[in-house]
Symmetry: C2
Subunit: 306 residues, 2 copies
Amino acid sequence: MPTVRSALIIGSVAIDRVATPFAQSDRILGGAATYAAIAASYFAPTRLVGVVGSDFPPAFIRRLRRHGIDLAGLQTDTTGRTFYWSGRYREHFEGRDTLEVQLNVFEKFSPVLPDAYRDTPFVMLGNIQPSLQNHVIDQLAGKRKPFILADTFDLWIHTARPELDRLLKRLDLFVINEEESLLMTGERNLVLAGRHLRRMGPRTVVIKKGGHGSLLFHADGYFAVSAYPVTKLVDPTGAGDSYAGAMIGYLASVNRTDFAAMKKAVAYATAVSSLTVESFSVDRLSGAGRKAIDARYRELVKITRF
Amino acid sequence: MPTVRSALIIGSVAIDRVATPFAQSDRILGGAATYAAIAASYFAPTRLVGVVGSDFPPAFIRRLRRHGIDLAGLQTDTTGRTFYWSGRYREHFEGRDTLEVQLNVFEKFSPVLPDAYRDTPFVMLGNIQPSLQNHVIDQLAGKRKPFILADTFDLWIHTARPELDRLLKRLDLFVINEEESLLMTGERNLVLAGRHLRRMGPRTVVIKKGGHGSLLFHADGYFAVSAYPVTKLVDPTGAGDSYAGAMIGYLASVNRTDFAAMKKAVAYATAVSSLTVESFSVDRLSGAGRKAIDARYRELVKITRF
């Protein structure tokens, strides 16, 4: 059995309000770090660094604790309210519009790692400002060089490119979606975009294609996995975050980052994110349990083998 | 070793003129049956039923003969010219526009199977009018019930739906692209669309997603294969036809139509169509050779296994 290592997740913890073509949520638990940490917690001991405000419901804290997530790094800033995001998905889930953002306590958030977190060997930087992502890396001080995964999104590609480029050179794994991979590289072909991104720094790149699966670009080869066949799409929010969280959690659990381990991480991430989209918030992700994840992983093996 | 059976391909043989964002072709060999027959010929003895006009270049006939394709069913109608299609792909290959169509001898084409073709056990009906596709099935008279694959396209979905619905009930395998599968079923989810199409008649359905791979819906299960990672897209014309042709050819070559054989057929079809798009016309498809196809098939196994 491998020695299971811890995973550290840094990012937003939020209160969301989501409208889809079919339903409207209440104020629900959201945020990239929330989805990622719950996903990672299925595989490895998970630590979370983030900030919430005075209005953050105790039930949401309990939800995170129920997954055994170490919340020593979750600051409560009583001078303000929690980061709030409200959005609406367009018809057929083809794109989404942000209706309202209140950064609140997240506006002045500067992640500080508790001393006990500084040697975490597997780290995921959620899509906060690239300068803050770099700032987190500066605080890491383990004897072993940590494995660092980061996510980003189009806002930073447009507004913080130099910091993002600096970040890329420090990453082991960059996880990005299809459109953003093309935007960042200027390529029109995902295979070329993946190779291009690797030349910008990260040893390994994953391009997520939503309902069409994902692509892995690694020094030792290329891997393509189909999506799990979801038929009950309720809310795509958090799919990408739980995908990345599952990857870092799985890699920590096997304490390996070779090509074979990366492929399995991608497959687990596919399984986990397919659960996430079947409900609002983390309801399905949190309620599914490891058995449901393993069942989807095995199903994925079955439906892709020939 | 299985007994290799023959494959019969019915459809258009054409002269095309294609513009892409990067290049403009001359008058080149085209047509669904052309692409499909060359693809099938790599796997099984292949017969072609179609029509050409007085202007069809002998070099194009030689090209088909070089693949050993039986052309007893290829009529030459000297009263007119060959079906001509000219089209232009939009920027980034996002859709294409037809610039000119001259049906010519294809307008009054009614496929007549030579007697020797009537017992062909594996038949592909290219995307001609559904009434003509039904007319071909009426002429089949083998002792064994033939295995019938058909393709269609949006024009027939809009204009010949009753005949198309009648055809579906007579099919073993229906091959359709992503957009058309949604259009035909009114579904918004490809998994639901595939299941829906099976309920309309065909025992097996394949949904092609271009650069995102394809999905197979069979009585014994679901299968998803990723695309081969093409980086040199020259001209997508004929990709779907060569995909379907490779499927029927492979199935004929193993004389099996069970789920395992269907999965392999889909993988071979993926490999073959990835070659087709790397040149104008059938140049790359025809020039590649079986070894190149087998190499891509093995590569596909490698890049999708975890």
